[in-house]
Symmetry: D3
Subunit: 293 residues, 6 copies
């Protein structure tokens, strides 16, 4: 909750704040008897217990509060408040697992199964956010993003001449390094020290390589192609890929990742915007976004 | 045909040249008795009549010529030599027409049919190259690119919440201005004066608007959304879009266009590269591209 | 009015605020008995009724307030407070009209007169701001900017070989799309939905084209040259022109526009700076500006 | 003269070359009996003696040669062949001198007269090219450019509130460092060692400062303002100005310089282009330029 | 002192502020009885008198205050509070003087001694900060930076073939223009008007040139090489050097300057970070910095 | 050998060519009786056997040839012609080995010894070029560059507070991935497929990690710090480092690498330039470089 006391056009003071929970965020206003401690100080984020009614204001959803109480730290379990996907995580994971089981390449299928059968890893993968703030920044976000990419990859494999298995594997696991780059167990999403020093691109390639080392028969050429897909998926060196995509599969994985990420940025940034309205300018796409009538 | 006389590693002179026809290009070499006029001068492109054998050299297809004769200008019909798609243009056009007939929006369907029923326009659209040199630079290239984009759009419409009709219309016609920006009736692909002064982005929006003016009942809001999709499809102002995409449909049309264009760049640049080989560095993606074994 | 309570170097609290009216803005300070409601809350912009004395502080004009009262919303007519040009709008409009009447090209003269005789359009043109905030952001600002550009164009037509009529027409109307891109009738300057989706470059060309369509004899080549001047006037694609200037007239219109805009940025940013003083760093030129002694 | 032997569309060999003299350059072609030594070797630039007829080819002037002879080095006086302005240098110099005499500031007038009365300097200034290749790259080019800038400055002084004397002095002498940065006495235009190590921006400020030191009463504040105009005239640090313009006069001198330079680039690049034709893409503006019909 | 009232996780209000003195800065917190005037207003920087205990919080040093009193302006001598180097300025100056005395070049040695024997100049040089905020922004900072650069230069002179005297002179005096660009006698570090209009690059070269003019026998070629070192030391034009380094000595002086500046940025930005902790993201290197355990 | 036939200023034809061997390259000219086969064709690089005299021409060393013969491919052993360091490779390697033996960290010393005792690796490291063309592009170039970096590191360890062992190890091995990225056993320097797909940054970190896996007691925190030094040494993401340097040691290794590389670029680009002369503009520093008199 971010809060400030402002005055409306008739001069009446009101509390302006932003309410956030696991399902998203919404602006709120409170008139009338304001809580004393909020009026006298400018608080940082806090856990609050509220009651009120939602309505639309200038094309954006807003909540008018009737009651607001700041909760004590021991009343809340922070994990309950982390944003989380609204989709069924089990169903999403099952879609990936099914894709892995039907890979035609024996080598990639074995690698996939080795990874999925590592319970700690697979649980982390299904729980991790896809980012700290740009898009899919929610519990299960990495899973959602990976499924979105897989679905696009399936369509592209019908259109272009491409190594389907490598494309699908890359679409699913290009961001796997996020499970080491980010932490989500301390009441919020944060970068780990390892994540800041090495980044998810290197960490992801290293993680997959560590599983490949358990498969002595894994072909060297396939490992090279797969590593290339993983380290080049950011598309350009300035976005953190040490080399740019140079195979068809690496190129497509990058373009798919970019497409799903940008689509999510639009959807998340216009979440509360009504038809005919505009989003704020401050969002990952850095432009006001329009929701047509 | 670009040609130069070089010496091989044993010191023997040979003619090095690039052969281009409607199906693509290939490097060629000719040893032994070289045509006199070629040895003494450095000619520009010319029409030639050749005989020889294809083989692989350092991972790239190459033709060893046994015989080469420069043709006189009156022996050739330049149109025969323009690169052209190898796909069936009628089938591609039919795929677009079918997509237009099944649009759910009455307004967009009428607009689509108005455009397709303008024979001069539709013939030009099915014949035009998609570019002068970057990708799909061949007769029927615009058609191929439009079909490729439509196919991706169909898949994305299953994944994201989006106005399907607007997305499909945009995927098909985002590059429609190319029919005015480029000419292909003078023995090669060239920019028109109008194309250089206004560009395909403005010319395309203007062309679609001229058809919309024939449909008095066309909704103003729909025209605005469609114009936005057309003028923003380059994605960023530095690539020639006066505004960046600000609706979901505009964003997706841009991303689809980019994806199909880059996939085509890879495919076209590695056309003659053998498995395990690398393309030249000079191509629209500006990097050597790898064709895995 | 933006306000904050600060402490001076002797520890006394004072109110720091920025006063804005139609003629510009000025910083103000208020010591002593501060209005209760301002001290306890941080208000957003509000209409205020003040009394006080202007003086210079560190080279910048400042107002020391004796009295300040926040006005009720029903006490003010917002239009009264929009910044507006201090020049005589009728005289400026007359200067443009005279220039139009003396164009030598029959076609451009007819087009000019058609536009000026459309009362709704001409009134909007004479009222519109030239921008939301960069320069000439005031009622009549577009008119001022157009007159400034015309005057420079007149001088340049004496120096360079150029089509005078096209240069003058372009200097006057290059920014005509601003009448659709911006709104100024809701208590402030804002972008319209159409303005954000298409931008003033496309809207301006479309507007002029709609008048040209009423003149069946208007030459196609002239329309092309004029459209090119309009769509290229931002000079570079990254500033929103889909093509860069490629004729002498288009090049000069861009350079004139840039020159008048930057001169206005300097003048507006140093408005309250005394001789020997420096402006703030935050202005459209993004550098502190010096007013010599 | 740059030359290459090519074949025309009927297979006939011809010599393609570019003729340059003091008045400009033109493409030329020669068919039939080609000079032996040219056919067998690829010569670099050379002095030639030619006869032939000019005609238009695809919108550009071209010369068809009847006779061509390579001249011996002792037959030519290289200085005769350096491009030079076609304007009357004395008249241009007189225009500047008159402007200097009518400066209202006693200090700037004295400085101006001190500089003009230094015969070596003034002769160099009236002879120097304004650049090695971008624009006004000809004997007298700096003079032409300075006069062009002065004329624009005169018009702007009528439009904006500005220190006229400082603006005029800056318009005339902003590029004065070119007399040290470039050399034009060795058969071509070249950078001096001093020019490459310090650049014309620093050399110009240093040159003017050396004259100011002879005027003990010259005000320090005026020297500072003038030095600022000189060192900031490139407009942005990436173009070689250690500081960006921060006064109105410095800003205008930069914009004037830019305007006159770009207008000259257009004029020089389209010199041989016929109405309705396009220039080459390779010119200082890096785009094909159009000469309307 | 920057201050704000926040609430901790148990809901208790506390004062959050940043304490700055000559030795650096540190974050502080104060709970319990807060000073009345601070709670009711948001003060700007102020001089305060505090008592409390330092401890580590999330890897960064923090002070918990027991007592805080805002001081009256007449209680403080602002100069006492300017950050200053913790090193012995006399020893640093002596190290430079010794280096100057042992230059092998008679000309550079004389120049050095002329500069050091100008007491006003030398005192200013030993007192000046090296920047307003990026690195070495403290009294004596320029001296520290110059000594750091000299030490690196000494090592490089053992490794590369280079003119040692010119390298050492450049390492010591490349930033000499800072003594004119910045002021530090008005209670803080600020840019002078001359500094903003000409910049330290031009001012430094001008300063050294003014001493060289007192040495009539100083060789012109040496002056040119030295001026080049001075004006090119920023390395790239976008960082304010009108020409890039083109001699070995100029290249090395730029690289040394950059190295010492960046090392200082790291050291200064991690000053209060404990082992295993991360700095803020907002620092001159624009990235969070890690202090390993 | 690159060759072209040109004409001198008296019209005499001469052969212009560039001679390259293991010690560097030099321009050459040949007048008089030119070899027939060279005059009639434009050959690519070839092995030649020459005789002639060196002299200086416009400040650059040039060779005037008396005799030139193109060698047959079977006459040459290509390895003999690869450029190679002129320094004693054994002495350079011994300097590194000594540095490794005296590391204070037991862990890093063991790692170093493990690497040096892997004969295949160490031989490759001592033989590899440091680049394909930018700097140190010669057999032993990586060794030279590593020693240069180590020497600078030693000096910096005396100046800044830093982990000496980590700094020295990073200085020596930051470019270790070059042994996999480049090949030098096929008659020239080339990129390997692995090198183009993964790059030396990733390959280097992977190589060192593979040795660390053989040392079970190697501390995880040290491995992380070392991996960070290796992957961040390019300094910025656009130069291929997936993360920028965030520790003091990583920052210094990057700055040292940059310093030694740029110094080498100057030295190598001015190799044949006489005092008072200028290098070509085409070199890795992309500017003409001056060698003072």
């Amino acid at each position: 909750m971010d809060a400030a006391v402002r005055k409306d056009s008739r001069g009446a003071p009101y509390l302006s704040l932003k309410l956030v929970d696991r399902t998203g965020s919404v602006d709120a206003r409170m008139w009338g008897r304001l809580p004393e401690d909020l009026v006298q100080e400018i608080p940082g984020p806090a856990y609050v217990d509220v009651e009120g009614n939602a309505h639309e204001y200038r094309g954006t959803l807003q909540v008018k509060l009737d009651r607001l109480r700041v909760m004590r730290r021991d009343e809340v379990d922070e994990e309950d408040y982390l944003p989380a996907t609204e989709q069924d995580r089990r169903a999403l994971a099952a879609e990936l697992e099914e894709a892995g089981r039907t890979l035609e390449s024996e080598d990639l299928r074995q690698l996939f199964e080795l990874m999925v059968s590592d319970e700690d890893f697979w649980e982390a993968f299904c729980e991790a956010p896809a980012a700290k703030g740009m898009h899919h920044a929610r519990i299960g976000g990495l899973l959602e993003h990976s499924v979105g990419c897989l679905r696009i990859a399936r369509a592209l494999a019908e259109i272009y001449p491409v190594d389907r298995d490598l494309l699908f594997f890359g679409a699913i696991f290009h961001d796997v390094g996020k499970v080491r780059e980010l932490s989500w167990d301390s009441g919020g999403f944060a970068y780990t020290t390892e994540g800041r020093l090495l980044g998810h691109v290197v960490l992801g390639e290293r993680l997959v390589s560590s599983y490949i080392r358990m498969l002595p028969a894994f072909p060297e050429e396939l490992r090279l192609k797969l590593s290339h897909v993983l380290i080049s998926h950011q598309g350009e060196t300035e976005y953190g890929s040490p080399e740019r995509p140079k195979t068809m599969e690496a190129l497509l994985v990058h373009l798919i990742d970019n497409l799903d990420a940008r689509a999510a940025m639009y959807i998340e940034s216009t979440q509360n915007v009504s038809p005919g309205g505009w989003s704020h300018h401050e969002n990952p796409l850095r432009r006001a976004l329009y929701v047509p009538e």
